[in-house]
């Protein structure tokens, strides 16, 4: 890309610069002996065309919306439409959460994102013994279609796009959403949204697994097959690096482990007989946006290129939409401090800006009080306003991929891509992500990074403002959101009510159909849809699947 003669001149000029640097260093050494980002990539003093002599614009970047999609998946990007502003929310009962959704929509949020409580995510009804203390805590409690109806009261499902963070019981919750659409008289083809449905990251990082990997992969491919036919606008998976990063991985590991999982899903679906271009366009991703501003922005660009190349070259995808890595981003919860929580507003703003410069399709900005409790309304509003400020006031959305061509960002993009590819190759050699998880490889990699990061903070090598430098004596904020502990009793009462009112024979019959499908190769979605419509509970359906598939037992690895 650069003229040879010009490069020679540049080399000569660099020598002069180096002399000046040496002189300066004698007078004033740099702040650190070496500058390295979280991924262990050394950062040069200054980047020039000499770091990218062979850079081939069309090969590496192309135009926005063109292969390999480094710059953007869409030709006009934010000049056409901003990202979806989507705050993850859910707590207590369906009614309380529904109130929060109406509040957020009124505040200008453009998509919904449902947080479910842990019993729901692990397939227990609220009355289960293991649900004690957990009902409604980290999300909304959903036991049956009744709760789902209350959750979306007054929200026409053809007017919103809804993301649902549900993995092991994704088929059941998806079925509830479909049943609700039917009741609202809305065709499945009009539904837009996403289910997380990404089991592979649950084993090493998020922990809401139920079934062993093999049957879990089968449920996922059943969902792919069903949704590609019946719910064509729905993203049938959100392949998530967010939680891998929260568990402590580096940026490179986040890209590598997430994309390796993505390739495993593609492979499983192809093995199950699906053509790559039938489900490929509905795969979506979910990444973290952490503190290192340029590393993060480069990470998103690297992920897009790596996905496009592999889908094309390894899996033979032809539909351009199968090559496009579309993603949601959440700012990094693990970077929030309980100390001086107002500082978190600023942290989140920078992280959100990285995500926007990296071309995210959808964004959740964390609330300032999330290191203390679930976010209060005021905190959520500031978080949402942060996105609106970036969109409407900063001007960064006026041109596509404004960081392109930065010597530093392009070099970082290349390095992240190359290092992620190395990890992906290692995982392939271990036999793919499932084998790598069973061997404890992924867990150990993540843990080592997490411990290194903590040690850097404790030694003062890594400064976290307000935590290990610039501390103040302070009182903790008092206005924190608390979940009403009575929510479990209310859910239990409602379950009893449901069980006395529904047609018990229809439920038994529907559950038998689910069991039969699980034991054969029939697609699980139709019988599960029938079961939720007959008012079988989430726990009952999961119990049937547990009976057939067994439960995953994790070996603790430290």
């Amino acid at each position: 890309m650069f003229d040879k003669q010009k490069l020679e001149q540049l080399r000569a000029a660099r020598e002069k610069y180096q002399e000046a640097v040496d002189k300066t260093l004698k007078k004033m050494p740099e702040r650190k002996s070496e500058f390295v980002n979280t991924s262990g990539i050394p950062i040069e003093r200054a980047y020039t065309p000499l770091e990218m002599e062979d850079f081939d614009y069309l090969d590496k970047l192309g135009f926005p919306g063109q292969y390999p999609y480094t710059r953007a998946v869409q030709p006009t990007a934010y000049r056409g439409r901003f990202w979806t502003m989507r705050q993850y929310a859910g707590f207590g009962s369906a009614e309380e959460t529904n109130e929060r959704y109406h509040y957020l929509l009124k505040a200008g949020q453009t998509g919904l994102s449902v947080a479910f409580d842990l019993p729901t995510q692990i397939g227990f009804d609220s009355d289960h013994e293991l649900a004690q203390g957990e009902v409604g805590k980290v999300g909304v409690a959903i036991d049956s279609l009744w709760d789902m109806e209350n959750l979306f009261k007054g929200i026409p499902l053809d007017k919103v796009s809804t993301s649902m963070t549900i993995n092991s019981p994704a088929a059941i919750v998806m079925a509830m959403y479909l049943a609700l659409a039917e009741r609202q008289g809305i065709a499945f083809g009009q539904l837009r949204g996403t289910i997380q449905n990404d089991i592979l990251k649950e084993y090493p990082s998020r922990g809401t697994y139920i079934f062993p990997p093999r049957p879990s992969m089968r449920i996922i491919t059943d969902i792919f097959a069903y949704c590609s036919q019946e719910v064509p606008q729905w993203n049938s998976i959100s392949i998530s690096g967010y939680h891998i990063r929260e568990a402590g991985s580096t940026a490179v590991q986040e890209v590598a482990f997430t994309l390796a999982n993505g390739f495993a899903y593609v492979e499983a679906a192809i093995k199950a007989g699906l053509a790559v271009d039938t489900f490929g366009p509905r795969l979506s991703f979910f990444f973290n946006s952490h503190n290192d501003f340029f590393e993060e922005a480069a990470k998103f660009r690297a992920a897009r290129r790596l996905w496009a190349r592999t889908m094309k070259e390894r899996f033979g995808a032809k539909d351009p939409r199968s090559l496009m890595l579309r993603f949601h981003t959440q700012t990094a919860g693990c970077t929030l401090t309980a100390q001086q929580p107002l500082n978190n507003i600023v942290r989140v703003a920078f992280q959100a800006m990285s995500a926007v410069l990296g071309g995210t399709q959808s964004l959740h900005t964390n609330s300032m009080d999330e290191a203390l409790a679930l976010p209060s309304e005021v905190a959520v509003q500031v978080a949402l306003r942060t996105q609106q400020l970036i969109a409407y006031e900063t001007g960064v959305t006026d041109t596509v991929d404004p960081l392109a061509g930065s010597y530093y960002v392009e070099k970082l993009t290349d390095e992240i891509e190359a290092k992620a590819q190395e990890y992906i190759d290692t995982i392939e050699k271990l036999g793919g992500p499932v084998a790598a998880i069973e061997k404890g490889y992924i867990q150990k990699e993540i843990q080592e990074s997490a411990y290194r990061y903590q040690k850097e903070i404790e030694s003062g090598e890594r400064i976290i403002v307000g935590l290990n430098k610039f501390q103040v004596e302070e009182e903790r904020p008092k206005e924190l959101l608390r979940v009403d502990p009575a929510v479990r009793d209310k859910q239990i009462a409602r379950l009893q009510d449901l069980k006395s009112q529904r047609d018990a024979a229809a439920v038994t019959q529907a559950l038998a159909e689910v069991k039969h499908a699980a034991q054969t190769e029939a697609n699980l979605m139709p019988p599960i849809l029938q079961a939720v419509k007959s008012l079988a509970t989430l726990g009952e359906i999961c119990d049937v699947l547990r009976e057939v598939f067994g439960e995953y037992e994790a070996a603790p690895i430290v």
């Binding site: 842990l118 692990i122 293991l130 957990e134 805590k137 922990g207 568990a247 608390r482 430290v558």
Partner: protein, 134 residues
């Protein structure tokens, strides 16, 4: 010279919470500080935690919970210990725990509660200074 007995710590995740970054970092730090660490993994009931502590002859139980279920789970562990007549195990808790929850947890028998931003060395020191068994 008698060999000094290593402090044995049972680290655990009560309830359904899957956030194990913190507890795993603590496992590594306690090990580096010369303690024996037995990590139970996720989804432990209070009953399972107590029986594991007894079986492992643990001097300390260190629990981590970020789901907000600490208010039920931590005191339940203390209660079961008490019902078994065990009073020489140091019980610690950590996670996302609002300040106002700390006094009732302490009253229930949780010796100390460590929140976000805690240095692992503070936890190591606390254990060394407050261990009940010698």
């Amino acid at each position: 010279m008698p060999v000094e007995k290593k402090i044995r710590v049972l680290t655990t995740k009560p309830g359904l919470d899957g956030h194990d970054r913190g507890i795993k970092v603590i496992c590594a730090a306690l090990r580096d500080a010369g303690m024996e660490v037995i990590y139970t993994g996720l989804r432990q009931t209070p009953e399972q935690i107590v029986s594991a502590a007894i079986q492992e002859d643990a001097d300390v139980i260190a629990m981590s919970c970020l789901s907000g279920a600490h208010d039920y789970l931590f005191p339940r562990v203390s209660e079961i210990l008490k019902s078994k007549g065990i009073d020489d195990i140091l019980v610690l808790g950590g996670g996302i725990i609002p300040d106002e929850d700390i006094p009732p947890l302490k009253a229930a028998g949780i010796a100390e509660v460590f929140g976000p931003g805690t240095k692992t060395t503070d936890i190591v020191n606390f254990i060394r200074e407050n261990i009940k068994r010698q």
